[in-house]
Symmetry: D2
Subunit: 361 residues, 4 copies
């Protein structure tokens, strides 16, 4: 149960609605004596912040995180870390007309079907606003990973596809990711996407995307077969992100197409340690990390919050047309990059701690 | 923690190694007074059984399940159901030469890295043999679903791709699934696969596959946002199956390519109830079932147990070549169909019960 | 793991230190469409509030609870309820001299041993201040119980012993509980305790107590054998309350002294339903509620925060004497009464929901 | 949920009914490379075995445990350990007459109320037979404790009260515990109990008891505040044992009677490490172990399976008299000693591993 919590040893619980007074989370199980401050967390929140380009929602929120517990004199104490962000720019009136109408492709109908009530303002609990707290939890997780794995470890994310346009992997440049508004590792793709998304926005529609997250410096041995496999937990983690419809590890669906003698990553010795000659597996074998980079991709569907009228029904059983007028991203996948990074951090921190429990650190 | 358990309200725990004396599982939380017998479970085990065609392993096991607890006079009692299958055809000597060698693409290396010890016989705990117990648990889950949802509910699975060869969805015929050794819904595809897999087998290699599982008659309202979403739990469930590298819900990765005005499933009224005009979402919106068919697909990589020699290393750091001589499926994806069905059943039973806890039944 | 959460289906997670900026909790799994407001919760917090008589700490805190999520237009929505109370009267300077000294009988030493760091201000996380959030969660649990069980259900608590002085059960009067500052059901005992505690306070010491919580109107059938037994969860719940050293169900330790033919509660029919002729079992048989009142008692040790100097050591290994000068209750057991009631409510709400999951409601 | 599992990091799940074909358990999360064999577990099962004196049930069962998984070449592999004991001496006919009658003081009525069905043979799932699997799980837990804590660590249990007769603590001799059929640390008490229980048995009644379990060599720092406190988990553990009605840590209920300046355990330095001058707290402060012996006591009510006729009702609403003819212990508390030891071992192993996850080992 406990459906608003994620993780076992490193566990966070989020609360809050898009247009309530605040959103927050509790991070439980954090190891003691890790240095952490509000700016450390704010840094990652700012990367996810909306309103940074014309391709993300113009909703302006400072999103100032406050640490309310679990940190004393700049260090974690081992007790739960309470984090909160006040909601300051809510403009609830924008949403009045969807009070009783179900936006197609949204969770409006299913929340109503499940609970018989919903906070319709801005999507309430189903809003991607909740992901801000994942980014905050992820910032805490990175402290755990940094303390236990050191500088060789890092997580990076990139957008690898927008609508039908994929990056050219031959152009991959991690430095480029920080230089364009799409987290694109391919400068040319970023230019293509600019034109494409301008057209999408003008046409009153939206576009999907694919995000790739890579963790390097992950030690071999993380993951708990058979129902706490590292890849299973990563799949669950990414699939909880709003609008995600597919998850891949390593080659993913392409693995179904290649023959077995190609698919298996061969091994050789490099000095006194084994190395893999390829990484089709995406760093996970039998649910346990192999020491190679852990590679996850996920597909984000185009948002249904669009200006084009769509057919729907309302709570009273009337057939209606729905247009979503609020401020929305033409491609919500862009802002999913820091969220995916955060979820990767949380899953790895959790498994690092679970591994220590069973096998020692 | 508890890495060998799956589910919350309907929860099963499996144990056992490929070549140990037995494998088993405990199904906990089963509602009382459901009629169940060993043949009810055996029926589904027989569908998964190896050795049924030349495309699955020739290992011959009767796989006779025994119910050791939780059932009294033909009915569940609400207490945990203990199930066990004895391992009778183990031929451990087949595996002697991989005692210290890491088979590329297998979990041999990662188990060793994690635990410092492994039961190498037949892959030990990492063997797909463990999935027999999932099928058994799934048979119990189906009893829960039948009791609470009635006959309108059913789960069906099909193989939709082998290697690069996909089914033609215009030919889809659920009846055909039971008539060919591949669970193919497309007769023509089954023929193509026959020739393809014969070639694969002769070449000493193996092929991947994609499996699709569809649940119809699922009521709207199942799934617990935001970290117990129905699609997230399904993704986790499928990703725990051996060799799975990708999971999709509804349109999956294709959803990233279509525009927003196409992606959202529109709604109209049909008499006094809302209906959807398409099912891009695969029956899940905001992590909650919409009442439409729940559609999941997963990609299975080609098995690494092949006759073609591959480069690897051994425990002592020597570079070696590995050939896997045992009896292995050229396409392990085929036998993943009943396993995927079982996991779908377990996830749905779990969420049906969780929904009853919070929202009443 | 998740050590700061309690419950499965009805689950709350608390965070916050005694002298941090705020304390809070998240209540997850709450059924939708229950009417609830801040005053509903405040009512129970006010019962626990310190400073109400000379027998409880003079720390003055308004303890104003705010609902930050999960409630919309006066009703629960099924999403997590975020609750927060700001800490407004902290006087940290009172605690400066125990920064490095371990107060005997307190958690100072063990927190230091476990975490290597502690927020020493007011006991930090180990302070009974955390119990305010249990009372808040308990107020939410009562809404669940009221909605599902109706008016026949209620929980009441009483103090039945202070130091060596027990109530006379022949004088038991539930109405009296609300009329004296001790929650005593026996007017005479309250008078005895007044004199006794005045002496204790003057002598610079403190006194222990025993609390009894009774839930009436609990239906038969709640509790999950064998490791989620109702009495086991109640014992765990009460033992998590600060300073509790013992828990009893029904006759408790006295059950060890009576013969078997007396101990078993006999049954007869009353009209068409079975009734018990006694309640030695305290309403629980085999871990499942019997329909009789559920009776729990717990022992609270005398607080170690006393003016009498006690021998101890400090972080640097020096032998020191410790006197606790802050504002402290001479008998912390008094304020444990509303906390025990709240924990009873949370356990019962949880089991009511768990029962609905497995057996239907 | 998962009511038949106990523990988080070290987690066991039991299954089986008193008169089903077998009982068993799965121990999950066990660290790898611990030496373990069937005789290691059998040793503890034999200590609990019935039929060893005239004071325990004459049911004769060899109770041969089999290890079915998780152990390879004499060592744990980190995968789940499946254990099973066949039921060989069931004599179901003894119980025919209680098929529809509710034995007073038993779980017959509450299982029926909860599940609407019950396996009445020998009490089914509510039988103390389930505790055999706890003893087996406890034997595994001891291996974890031995590997991580070494020889200074040990757990010992004793019976400290039978009916109204307590041991004289001045006579306490741990060696005596192994020399009498009661696990009494006081030779004189054992003699008193012999006469007392003979009388009880002849009178067709039964007697309660109090068990004390002591763990020495527990390091400071185990336990997870605030809802996974070491004492809270111990209370839950002991309260799940059949017929237990009360649990105490350290002074327990007596702590309510002594003044605060006596209750707090003072500290001094002994060389370079802090020592406590008393152990009123029973080795736990603020829910965390202090490094002192962990002391738990629990009260076992007299069994209701007695020859004296008691008034009850049956399933059809008839008033009946019930006499329990089977083979039953006059004092079930005696056999609870090894069970309590086992639960102590499981709780400590779990917390040792949880501590390693958060704080490192």
């Amino acid at each position: 149960m406990a459906s608003n919590s994620f993780g076992e040893a490193f566990r966070f619980t989020t609360w809050g609605e898009s247009h309530g007074p605040a959103i927050g989370c509790v991070v439980d199980g954090v190891p003691p004596r890790l240095p952490i401050s509000e700016p450390d967390i704010q840094f990652f929140l700012d990367r996810r912040k909306p309103g940074q380009s014309r391709f993300t929602t113009q909703r302006q929120e400072p999103d100032r995180v406050k640490i309310l517990s679990g940190v004393f004199e700049g260090q974690t104490t081992g007790t739960p870390i309470g984090l909160v962000i006040e909601n300051t720019d809510q403009r609830s009136k924008d949403y009045g007309d969807i009070m009783s109408r179900f936006r197609p492709g949204h969770a409006d109908y299913t929340y109503e079907a499940k609970y018989g009530i919903r906070d319709y303002r801005g999507g309430g609990r189903s809003s991607a606003r909740e992901t801000a707290m994942r980014v905050a939890a992820g910032a805490v997780a990175r402290k755990v990973l940094a303390a236990r794995l050191g500088n060789a470890f890092h997580i990076r994310g990139a957008l690898v596809q927008v609508g039908p346009h994929k990056v050219n992997r031959d152009n991959w440049d991690w430095d480029e990711v920080e230089r364009n508004p799409f987290w694109s590792p391919d400068k040319d793709a970023a230019e293509t996407w600019t034109g494409f998304l301008d057209d999408v926005r003008k046409s009153g529609s939206s576009a999907g995307a694919v995000v790739e997250i890579v963790a390097e410096g992950v030690p071999a041995g993380l993951g708990e077969p058979v129902y706490g496999k590292l890849d299973s937990d990563l799949a669950a983690a990414m699939m909880t992100i709003n609008a995600v419809k597919g998850v891949e590890i390593g080659d993913g669906f392409a693995a179904a197409e290649i023959p077995g003698h190609e698919a298996a990553d061969e091994m050789r010795m490099e000095g006194d340690r084994p190395v893999f000659l390829s990484n089709h597996a995406g760093g996970v074998l039998g649910g346990i990390s192999s020491g190679q980079p852990v590679v996850v991709r996920f597909a984000v569907k185009p948002t249904s919050s669009i200006l084009t009228p769509r057919r729907s029904v309302d709570k009273d059983g009337n057939e209606v047309d729905v247009v979503t007028k609020g401020r929305h991203d033409p491609c919500v996948g862009i802002r999913a990059v820091p969220v995916g990074e955060a979820m990767m951090a949380c899953v790895l921190a959790d498994h690092l701690m679970r591994h220590a429990a069973q096998c020692g650190s």
